[in-house]
């Protein structure tokens, strides 16, 4: 640690045993009461004087040619203030998604807007839907993604090939153990509790527009907006989830923005749940064929991966091969297969759960083929000691050592059987530069401010907690201000970068505030900067604790508010985490019912800023993976191109009765004195562990997600 000449030092997080606010199990979210009582105002809840309610009108099928969009009847309805086509006759609707929007209506009430939407007459001549992978792959299929230059000849794009496929296939064929498995993963939705959308206050009389936005990028959302009306203010005091889907102003934002300025009135335009499923993004589906070989001792020797990414109009995501495991000889061929459906967006570890499911399925298959313990085979092919430690611990916690099926699965004999499976994770959470202001008032008030958004992760809480820790205060003595682009700039919340970016900047600002206060204390307590201890609402001279002042007495030394600006310090951040998970399931091989009994996840983290929030994140990852494993599936009608799973009735996510015993273990052997985000890692391996547990229970290999009775019974009996 470099000491400067006046005794100031670079900030460090400090020994964990000395922490009073951070790394604790009982640090509650500071916005918890607001959220649970309904006081928290989300974008959906914003009500402004003179506000109108806007609604999108969509063509309900996938592709077509617009014949007519007639809004006259809608315009004549009571309470309707706007009804206009946004697509013209002759235009092509290329895909189910934002391209389906044909008109925009607005009313004095949400009901008037609904009435207007229903009254819009939409005539579209349907084109072949191309909504399934089979339809997109078919010879002569319409090409859904058009490009002026070098128009594509089919629905594939972006082929990436690595390695020497012939060599690898030969190596697989000659290996002592070989697996050849094809997995299919449907498209998953983010299912944010709060749908996408904005409330737009138009700019006028020199005042800039105000965007109340459910967004993951408060600081830079304004860059996506035409600034003819001035640089917009962006406000996101609370948001109801994003999971990667909220990085774009979107068509809904653009239409709301234009309408607000056209009408000179605030516009509320939040997507309906059906709109959200249609155009709010998704996690791309996947088709993968893996051929994996291993020697007789279980060392993986060769892997060939063919993969299609099913991202609709988007490219889709796949994390590549080999996934986490060491394999000597690898070849892969990964490409996008496009359908006329909404483009995939980032979703909590994009491409990783898909890659995990393929790889963990193949690795598991090798273990049983060799009659080896799948846990031991995993460790044999993972180089990181952290993975080894974590696998051992989750195995212990799930009861693997006492489990009868350690080297051979149970049987699908009509009985009810219990199985255990594993999977591993990893992530490189990033860190980018952002800024934080800490202000100390002469009356003792402290404000920690940065533009960042809290997606539900607990960011707001650490924005206050880190400052409280540094200044020896209680968290209730520090006010966190976030979700406003006029505050010091922060980063878009993607790639688990938020904590690795914001928390070091908060720490730095708090540290600068402390040093500035210590400079004020020098003439009073007669000790140089860097020689004070801040604890329990008091500051004392470290070498002579009798010389001390209470917090308010310190602040009273200020003639005016003290404000410092901190910046992200790389020394306070680290960028590599691991993870391991185990699942225990019960399979009724007569009915195909799968019950997940228990899941265990372990994550390394560096310094846990907030252990309760960290466990919640890990639990959330397990829950989202369980829901992906057991239930979630976007469904299109292949005949006419209707999105059938456009409600929470028809797109099933797990509920309370699906919840197993969840054990989230923080890896405290990770002693790094640095922080990082970790939201993505714990969602990666859960569905893989569950599939492997089903196999372990009954010998049925689930290669098609989700593990609903149709797929489970087909794995047991074959297709009927």
């Amino acid at each position: 640690m470099a000491n400067s000449n006046n005794g100031a030092a670079d900030p460090t997080w400090g020994p964990r045993k000395d922490l009073d606010v951070l790394n604790r199990d009982d640090l509650r979210r500071i916005d918890g009461p607001d959220k649970t009582t309904g006081r928290a105002v989300y974008t959906h809840d914003v009500r402004l004087p003179g506000m109108v309610w806007a609604k999108l009108v969509r063509y309900p099928r996938a592709r077509g040619t617009v014949k007519n969009v007639d809004v006259e009847a809608a315009r004549g309805l009571p309470g309707v203030v706007h009804a206009a086509a946004v697509r013209e006759a002759g235009e092509t609707i290329a895909f189910s998604g934002s391209d389906s929007v044909v008109a925009l209506v607005a009313g004095e009430t949400p009901e008037a807007a609904e009435d207007a939407a229903r009254a819009v007459v939409v005539e579209v001549e349907a084109l072949a839907p191309v909504v399934t992978a089979d339809q997109a792959r078919a010879d002569g299929a319409p090409v859904v993604r058009q490009r002026r230059r070098r128009p594509p000849k089919d629905n594939f794009s972006g082929l990436r090939e690595n390695g020497e496929p012939d060599e690898v296939l030969e190596a697989v064929a000659g290996a002592a153990a070989q697996v050849d498995v094809t997995v299919e993963i449907p498209t998953q939705h983010h299912v944010c509790l709060e749908t996408h959308g904005h409330v737009v206050q138009p700019g006028e009389d020199g005042e800039p527009p105000v965007l109340y936005a459910s967004t993951q990028l408060v600081s830079v959302l304004g860059q996506q907006v035409d600034d003819a009306h001035g640089k917009p203010r962006v406000l996101t005091p609370h948001m109801g989830g994003g999971f990667g889907s909220k990085f774009s102003f979107g068509l809904e934002g653009k239409l709301a923005y234009e309408l607000a300025h056209e009408l000179g009135r605030p516009v509320h335009l939040m997507l309906s749940r059906s709109d959200e499923f249609t155009m709010g993004g998704n996690r791309s589906g996947s088709w993968q064929r893996l051929r994996l070989g291993a020697d007789a001792e279980g060392t993986l020797t060769a892997l060939h991966l063919e993969a299609e990414k099913h991202g609709g109009m988007g490219g889709g995501a796949h994390a590549g091969a080999p996934y986490h495991y060491e394999v000597e000889n690898v070849a892969s061929s990964i490409q996008s297969l496009h359908t006329a459906t909404d483009a995939n967006r980032a979703m909590r570890a994009p491409g990783h759960p898909q890659a995990s499911f393929g790889m963990e399925t193949a690795v598991d298959g090798i273990a049983y083929q060799l009659g080896m313990d799948p846990l031991e085979l995993r460790k044999k092919n993972l180089t990181s000691p952290t993975h080894h430690r974590q696998l051992d611990r989750v195995a212990q916690e799930i009861g693997w050592n006492d489990h009868p099926n350690r080297v051979a699965p149970g049987k699908a004999d009509g009985g009810v059987h219990v199985g255990i499976g594993f999977g591993v994770a990893g992530w490189g959470p990033g860190s980018r530069k952002c800024q934080v202001d800490v202000t100390v008032e002469p009356d003792g008030g402290v404000v920690s401010a940065t533009a960042t958004q809290d997606l539900g992760t607990g960011a707001r809480t650490y924005v206050a907690a880190i400052v409280a820790e540094e200044l020896g205060l209680g968290i209730d003595q520090v006010t966190a201000r976030i979700g406003d682009n006029e505050l010091p700039p922060s980063v878009p919340s993607g790639g688990s970068v938020t904590t690795g970016s914001s928390a070091p900047a908060v720490k730095h600002a708090a540290h600068l505030a402390r040093e500035a206060l210590e400079a004020k204390l020098e003439p009073v307590l007669e000790a140089p900067v860097g020689s004070y201890t801040w604890k329990g609402g008091r500051v004392s001279v470290t070498s002579d604790p009798e010389r001390s002042l209470a917090w308010r007495e310190v602040c009273a030394l200020l003639a005016s508010p003290l404000r410092v600006t901190g910046e992200t310090q790389k020394s306070l951040y680290h960028g590599r985490i691991h993870g391991a998970q185990a699942a225990k399931v019960e399979v009724d091989t007569l009915t195909g019912r799968v019950r997940v009994l228990k899941m265990v996840a372990m994550q390394d983290q560096g310094l846990p800023l907030n252990r309760m929030a960290l466990r919640s994140q890990i639990n959330g990852g397990m829950i989202q993976a369980l829901s992906y494993a057991l239930l979630e599936q976007r469904v299109f009608d292949a005949q006419d191109g209707y999105l059938l799973s456009d409600s929470l009735d028809t797109y099933r996510i797990a509920g309370s009765r699906e919840m197993p015993e969840l054990v989230a273990i923080i890896d405290d052997d990770d002693e790094r004195d640095a922080v990082s985000g970790m939201a993505e890692a714990p969602i990666i391996p859960g569905q893989s562990a569950i599939a492997n547990a089903i196999y372990n229970a009954c010998g049925a290999r689930l290669t098609r997600m989700p593990f609903t009775p149709d797929n489970v019974l087909e794995a047991i009996h074959g297709k009927v």
Partner: protein, 327 residues
């Protein structure tokens, strides 16, 4: 949902007089708990110009009929049925069926009468953009489209699977419904004759007239020594309709099945009594061989579509597990 008038008549007779004689997209309809009709309206399957409030006009009590049976007022809530000591003691399968339905919030509002009259839950039927036989159209997109949840029995020309758990369980215990008509007339129909197949009628699922209402459900006293259960298999345990369900009653004579009643839910276009499964059980030892035979018999006439062949295995499994629980 389109605007509508809420009518609050003073008597059942006044209420029924407000209903049209023929069903239509915009004709007045009854509302009790509202858990189906409001979703139907939100999905634009119907747009009644008026909803007629039934609350207070139709009994909602659960009463002892004095002979060992029960009378359920049609506006008794599903939660009341699940919680009723009388129901649990005499007809555990009815309590189990009630408990399996939807979510606590919905159970506390939904009525048993409403449960018997739910419209199909097929995703095509519920999609406001889709035309289908059941909505006056000329196609069943489920037949060759997404039919994972569709019927394997009683299908054609429409293939939805009937959603009512209470209907399946009530038929299993021999219940009838009392129906009030607009002219003050009443009639009683056995529930196993109450539902109609799509090849009999497409605009409705029951024999109920457009201006009639079910007022009571009469459940006769159970046979001496009968054992009854309702087993429902849901894709999502927290809240779902049946992928397959079985209401099963047996009377045992020694180790043998003296009589049996089997009604299947979630697999047919109406609640599906299975005399075939019953015949396979009666006279047999109460054990796995008979349970398997009953399952085979239950699906012998089933015609699966492309995505719902798994229901053949599922029905057999559910029936097996239901019978097993009665030992």
């Amino acid at each position: 949902m389109q605007p509508f008038d809420l009518q609050v008549p003073r008597s059942l007779e006044d209420a029924l007089a407000l209903l049209p004689k023929e069903r239509s997209y915009d004709g007045a309809q009854l509302i009790a708990g509202g858990q189906d009709i409001l979703t139907v309206m939100k999905n634009d399957i119907a747009a009644p110009t008026a909803l007629v409030e039934l609350d207070g006009l139709v009994p909602g009590e659960i009463e002892d009929d004095g002979t060992g049976g029960l009378v359920l007022g049609a506006t008794a809530t599903i939660q009341e049925i699940a919680d009723s000591g009388l129901v649990r003691e005499r007809f555990p399968s009815l309590a189990e069926a009630a408990k399996s339905i939807a979510s606590p919030q919905i159970r506390s509002r939904a009525t048993v009468g409403g449960n018997l009259h739910q419209r199909p839950r097929c995703p095509y039927f519920r999609h406001s953009g889709v035309s289908c036989f059941k909505k006056g159209g000329n196609v069943c997109l489920a037949e060759f489209g997404f039919n994972k949840y569709a019927a394997i029995l009683g299908g054609g020309p429409s293939y939805f699977s009937h959603p009512s758990d209470m209907a399946t369980a009530l038929i299993g215990v021999g219940a009838s419904v009392e129906i009030a008509g607009a002219d003050g007339a009443t009639r009683t129909v056995a529930l196993d004759e109450y539902y109609v197949l799509p090849d009999e009628a497409l605009d409705r699922e029951t024999v109920l007239g457009a201006n009639e209402a079910v007022t009571r459900i009469v459940v006769p006293a159970p046979a001496a020594g009968v054992r009854t259960t309702y087993l429902k298999f849901k894709e999502r345990e927290s809240y779902d309709f049946a992928l397959a369900a079985a209401s099963v009653s047996v009377v045992l004579d020694g180790g043998k099945v003296a009589s049996a009643k089997v009604v299947l839910g979630g697999v047919a276009t109406k609640p599906w009594p299975s005399p075939e499964a019953e015949a396979a059980l009666v006279g047999q030892e109460m054990g796995p061989d008979a349970w398997r035979a009953a399952g085979e018999a239950a699906v012998a006439d089933a015609v699966p579509l492309d995505m719902n062949g798994y229901k053949l295995h599922l029905v057999k499994g559910v029936l097996f597990r239901a019978l097993e629980s009665l030992v």
